[in-house]
Amino acid sequence: MLISLTMIACSAASSVADTPLHKWVDMAVGMGSVGFENVAADDAGDAAFARRLYLDLTGMIPSAEQARRFLADRSTDKRARLIDQLLTSPQYARRMQYEFDTMLMERRPDKHIKSDEWRNYLRQSFAQNKPWDQLVSEMLTADGTDEKTRPAARFLLDREMKTDTMTRDLGRIFLGRDLQCAQCHDHPNIEGYLQRHYHGLAAFLNRSYLFTDPKSKQTSIGEKAEGAVKFTSVFTSESDETAPRLLDLPPIEDPPAAEEPYTVKPDKKVRSVPVYSRRLQLAAAMTDPANVAFRRNIANRLWALMMGRGIVEPLDMWHAENPPLRPALLDLLADTLADHDYDIRYLLRELALTKTYQQSSQYNGDAEDSDAAHFAVSMLKPLSPEQLAWSMMQATSLTETTLKDLKAKHLAAGTEDAEKQIDDPLWQEETLHNALKAHVDTFAGLFGVVGIQTSRFDASADQALFVRNGAALQSWIASGSGQLTSRLNMLQPPDLIDEFYFSVFSRPPAIGEIHFVTQFLEQQPDDRESAIRKLVWAALSSAEFRFNH
């Protein structure tokens, strides 16, 4: 173990080895060591792997056909090929849009920037595989005056330019540190969360303000040329002041005051622009290689996205008392990601290739729950509201039937190139998304949490009532043409059961399951169609469906 960690440290620094990252990751997790192998789970198997990967990279379960095709593929590199295929699909960009929107905006309502524009900006960014440092720079630099870059300004503008809100969220979301308590005093329980960290971050932003154009009513970010950040501890009454600085990095001192400090002087009617902007120093300081917290934070978050739990958990609670479970692993991921120009697709690909990602969520022997925390067993990941909505629509074939209708409509409209367009994956994804978006919003409203996101799972009675009795799900389960229920109704066991399992659970049924479902269908007194509806409902509301496992 010691040897492998030293090797990891070397490789991260110099990238000498040809060994790909995913192999180093497995070693850093503990694979190969006797203690770890004793509790480690088996490989998940192809079907479980495919379901997991489709959910993680495209945001929904595979269709029955996709699941079958993957299982039937006999080539040895099929997992790697599926990873590559999904990472370049339009669904990948959508999935990342959902995840990063939730991470960055935490399901806040729209304020100054239309969320559709912001989400489109995110999706385009992930479709281009924009490096993370570039994406963050854009968000921290845009001031909302240029229509082209305006959506990127949502992170700051929709926090109303409130210094405390922006400071806390910059710390939490980009540095993995919730410095809120350090606003008023050095943290009492946590060594290393200091008041100057909070105020150093605040100093980048406290001169900036929300400007509303009196004529157009459009909001943007204005900035003053003066305003120092002073702070006093409520405990010790010691005072200090700070120039902008990131955690323990040196403060960024203002240049000598210019004779005329403004490009545009402050006035009620105009957005003031200083010659020297403190806010515009933030992006460079944040993404500077010296700011280790920035790369560790995103590496930890991407790891959590794939593995269900951060190496530091909670994701915004990095401090000496809550260290990473595997410090070397996190540094390896962070440094390699930075070396690869913050290529998110690269890191997700390597993570998906690890044995750690591909292991089963079932324990071996009598391993305890806690082992999952150490990545020896795959964790259950609750589906996000968006994943749940899309997966239910996928399982009941609503996606397929809707797309079929949309294609027919598009052809009937007789647009030029329509025939070519309807086979374009991007056209398909966007058209289908627009058609079914309202359903996704309903799920987001009911299953989503507004505010600070946690990895914890929670379920409430109103969610269960929605699944039990809500009109949406009932109509999806109904036997409309081409929908799952009517398709199943035309089949007989065992084909019926096979189709059912592939459609909902993305896997073939076990022998015992064929038996148990056949028995259920035989015992139902009423007509077969309503028995099938019960079967579909029970599967959609089951734990196996609710979690990514």
């Binding site: 009492p188 079932q362 379920a459 109103d462 009532l465 039990r468 089951s542």
Partner: protein, 421 residues
């Protein structure tokens, strides 16, 4: 040691938990057993809690701690009550006649002037960290077995965000079911074409799927998921309770406005076995026109609340129901330029009564002008201990959580002993 940190997040808890596991671990086993036995006993006795939350921060000077004729006293008078020697604001005439059923704590200093942080402290009895609300604790330890209702129900006209319904580590089952006024929860009826038999058979099938999936898998999340379906089923069985319209006589007594109807629903919920019902009366954040606001708000609050109190008493439920009227903080003695009073956690009051509470008592006092606590200073952690001990729960014990050692109340403080019967 106990300083105003004005903070709420997790890291305190984490640092603290580490401390606790190293020091209290030895006692954990005993604590668990005790709590468990206690829960069974309590369930038998069916104790419960009614919380009336005056959202925004009711003014102590216009309610429980009037100071007429003093510099900050405001225009309202103090009136005598059914308990000789206790005076409360003239804005609460009906409560004044029932003061012998209630007691007042006049010496609260939570050192917090923020709505959200104050509310969290008042609910959790802890300044920081993710701890369960009073209602979630009640749901876990007081809910009757086989109760068809979620243990903790909150009736409110609008949403306040309560992470995990205030359940924290007690699990979603004990989180609050939030009712939007008297509107029944959505999706309460089975879909057309699915009768009770069909519903039961599809639900049985769901459980069979779950049983297969549970094999050698982590239980924590799947159990929480299952619990949500149990609660949904319980609510469906009790649909009639939400659909039942209030009688004309009840409406005459309680009033036909929202808060009156909420109090009626609270009565029904308590009678049907809810362990904790919280009713929120919104609109006390009177930064401007404090006096007009309180005249109006307390006018709406006073009578329906008293009708509910009367009904609990005449139905013999008051001795097993703890009643608490509280806010997230009080209001500044100093009246601002807009005739408002601002946020004030420094010296304010709550009222409580019923199960386990010495009636007709006043605990603590503020100074002559109400600017400071003069005597018997307490904060929300003391109140938290007091509420739970009033319903017979040992708040100094550990939570009934296998493998974890978490004291129910803040181990650094204790209950207000002289208030308990």
């Amino acid at each position: 040691m106990r300083r105003n940190q004005g903070c709420n997040p997790l890291e305190h808890e984490m640092a603290r938990r580490r401390f606790l596991t190293s020091t209290v671990a030895g006692a954990a086993g005993i604590g668990l057993v005790d709590t468990h036995a206690q829960a069974d006993q309590l369930k038998h006795q069916q104790k419960r809690i009614l919380q009336v939350f005056l959202q925004g921060g009711v003014s102590q000077l216009e309610s429980w701690d009037p100071k007429p004729g003093t510099v900050h006293g405001g225009p309202f008078q103090a009136i005598p009550t059914s308990v000789p020697g206790i005076h409360i604001s003239e804005l609460l005439p009906n409560i004044a006649q029932r003061m012998h059923l209630l007691s007042i704590v006049r010496s609260i200093n939570i050192k917090i002037n923020d709505h959200e942080q104050g509310r969290q402290f008042m609910e959790k009895g802890r300044r920081v960290g993710q701890f369960p609300y009073v209602g979630a604790v009640a749901s876990k330890y007081l809910a009757t077995p086989n109760s068809n209702l979620p243990g903790y129900v909150h009736v409110s006209s609008r949403g306040l965000s309560d992470v995990a319904g205030g359940a924290a580590f007690l699990g979603a089952k004990h989180g609050q079911l939030k009712l939007e006024g008297i509107k029944p929860p959505g999706n309460l009826s089975a879909p057309a074409g699915i009768d009770a038999v069909a519903d039961a058979s599809r639900d049985k099938l769901r459980l069979q799927f779950n049983q297969r999936f549970a094999d050698r898998r982590s239980k924590a999340m799947t159990e929480a998921y299952d619990a949500s379906y149990d609660q949904a089923a319980g609510l469906m069985e009790r649909r009639a309770m939400f659909e039942g319209t209030a009688s004309k006589k009840d409406l005459e007594r309680y009033g036909t406005h929202d808060f009156g109807r909420y109090c009626l629903l609270a009565r029904t919920l308590l009678e049907n076995g809810a362990a904790c019902v919280k009713v929120t009366h919104h609109g006390y954040d009177s930064h401007a026109e404090n006096f007009n606001f309180h005249l109006e708000q307390l006018g709406e609050f006073d009578r329906p609340f008293c009708m509910l109190l009367d009904d609990l008493e005449t139905r013999g439920m008051l001795e097993s129901t703890l009643v608490v009227i509280y806010s997230e903080f009080g209001r500044t003695p100093k009246v601002n330029v807009r005739y408002g009073r601002d946020h004030w956690g420094t010296a304010w009051s709550i009222a409580l009564g019923g199960c386990g509470i010495q009636p007709g008592a006043v605990i603590g006092s503020t100074n002559e002008t109400g600017t400071e606590v003069a005597d018997r200073e307490v904060d929300a952690s003391h109140l938290f201990h007091t509420y739970l001990q009033a319903v017979g729960l040992d708040s100094t014990a550990e939570h009934d959580l296998p493998g974890r050692s978490i004291p129910i109340g803040d181990p650094a403080t204790e209950s207000i002993q002289e208030l308990l019967v």
